[in-house]
Amino acid sequence: MSLVADASNVAVLAADPPCYARTVNSWVCPEYVTRYAPELWEATVQHVLLTVTSVVLGLVLAVALSLAARHRPKARSLLLGSTTLVYTIPSLAMFSILAQATGLTPTTVVIGLALYSLSILVRNVLAGLDSVPDEVVEAATGLGYGRLRLLTRIEAPLALPIVMAGLRVATVSTVALVTLGTIVAYGGLGNMLANGIDDSFKAQVLTTSVLCVVLAVLLDLVIVAFARLVTPWTRGAAA
């Protein structure tokens, strides 16, 4: 009985326009996901690559800048001030200006997003380094640790939890910001999202938005797992 009903439903559906057609325009539309799977996959891969590259570049820059500035109060406030200032540049202007130098390339997006991530990462790297207790540094120095060994063996591990917390925020924020790369043709899921909004293509808007959220959550989980792996002594403490 139910089989018969299902069969007739399928027949009716086949004759009707698909749920992604504008006459139907459903928000939730599995047919859309199936039909646009290759495009969605390609956009998601681009989204992940842009996010990871930007955050890694941002982290490298943030660590280098923080290490250079941390014991110099003037450089420190300049660094904090300038990274905050960069964050206030509207993304439209940022990508348009960068495009003059680096063209319509992923590099344009990566540089822009890395600069934006600095405002979060620099703060956390500095806070992480500050959180290392003076007694610990003194004890290590007393034990004959040189500056490099002090940094890599004592300060870095102790700063790691706060740096990782910053990395999580920066990553999630970058996943959202990548979409704006559509301004220069490299926006990952943002390219499809922007088109969906323009054409009131509801299935596309919802699907790409959900994928962005899922991506942010997954990347966040990856960082949490990585942080637990490299800081085993924090396990058991509140996350």
Binding site: P17, P18, Y20, A21, R22, T23, Y32, Y36, E39, E42, Q46, L49, L50, V52, T53, V56, L57, L92, S96, A99, Q100, G103, L104, T105, P106, T107, V110, T182, I183, V184, A185, Y186, N191, A194, N195, D198, D199, S200, F201
Partner: protein
């Protein structure tokens, strides 16, 4: 012992992160290469990212791939982002609108707000815009008959009841008219200002509901407005119960679809220009409206719609 292992682990982790960053950078760089033989070299095609330009970009891409080019598409938000790239030969081909690019180049060359060089006359506009384009290192190829102009529509009932088919007819009814249009419509010669001054239509209010939007069309259907601004290539007007009023006094500048190419690149790639001109020769406003409908209403993919059109017109021979 244990610390050595840890150090090694950290080093390899660092190397891995660096490698991942490098790989991802290069991987982003060389996606959407269309494959096929690239005996004619590679071409970067840009343009604005909305339905009609996506279709045109696909048409151009497939025509050029058929000629043996390796085409990369980079559709962006606004014209000013790709125009600098086109002048520098970082982008070689862009689908354009005659007066759209004309007004842009005119503003760039003579300052914003300078007297437009474009008009309702295609040949005359093309002559003047071509001069400006050459100055920017850009050459305009042959315009298509297809033109995407601002147009004004009324509901079918309104048209029948008042027996209007042209904008002059509408003015002759002497009715007060509310218009749904783009935000900047009020002071534009091709919008409310021109409709008042050139046609003498009594426009009492402009609702800023956007250009050709669902909201604007719904406002017309509900009777909140009598006139709604849409595009001549809007393929869904019939479904929406709207009819276009003819621009019988030639208020709208010519917005024919036209390939804009980098002049230096063109010198060595005449074959590509010939192929794009052949495409332009087949493209009419009605055909373009059909392609827009297929993408906007049926939600077909621009690439599929373009392929079918080119096959039907015999342009991929």
């Amino acid at each position: 012992m244990k610390s050595t292992t840890l150090r090694r682990l950290r080093r390899s982790a660092a190397a891995l992160v660096c490698a991942a960053a490098l790989v991802s950078l290069s991987a982003c760089g060389d996606d959407d290469n269309g494959g096929g033989d690239s005996s004619q070299g590679s071409v970067t095609l840009s343009g604005q990212n909305f339905t009609e330009m996506q279709i045109l970009a696909e048409l151009y891409t497939q025509v050029l791939e058929n000629e043996g080019y390796d085409v990369t598409q980079k559709l962006v938000d606004t014209r000013d982002i790709y125009m600098a790239q086109l002048a520098d030969n970082k982008v070689q081909v862009v689908p354009e609108y005659l007066s759209g690019i004309g007004d842009y180049l005119n503003d760039q060359a003579n300052g914003a707000g300078s007297t437009p060089v474009t008009s309702n006359n295609v040949e005359d506009s093309l002559d003047k815009v071509s001069v400006l384009a050459e100055g920017a290192g850009v050459t305009l190829l042959e315009p298509a008959e297809a033109t995407d102009q601002n147009a004004y529509a009324v509901t079918k009932e309104f048209a029948d009841k008042n027996s209007v088919t042209t904008l002059s007819d509408l003015a002759a009814t002497k009715q007060p008219i509310k218009l749904a249009a783009a935000r900047d419509c009020k002071d534009r010669q091709d919008c409310a200002k021109g409709l008042k001054e050139v046609y003498g239509i009594d426009i009492t209010e402009v609702l800023p509901l956007g250009f050709g939007t669902r909201e604007g069309k719904d406002a017309a259907a509900n009777g909140e407005v009598q006139l709604v601004q849409v595009a001549t290539t809007d393929g869904s007007l019939e479904d929406d119960g709207l009819v276009l009023l003819e621009d019988d006094k030639g208020l709208q500048p010519a917005q024919n679809l036209i390939p804009a190419v980098n002049t230096t690149w063109l010198a060595d790639n005449k074959g590509a220009a010939d192929a794009l001109n052949e495409l332009s020769a087949q493209l009419t406003t009605d055909k373009l409206a059909d392609l827009n409908t297929a993408v906007d209403v049926d939600r077909e993919k621009p690439a599929d719609v373009a392929k079918k059109f080119l096959e039907d017109e015999g342009l991929l021979g």
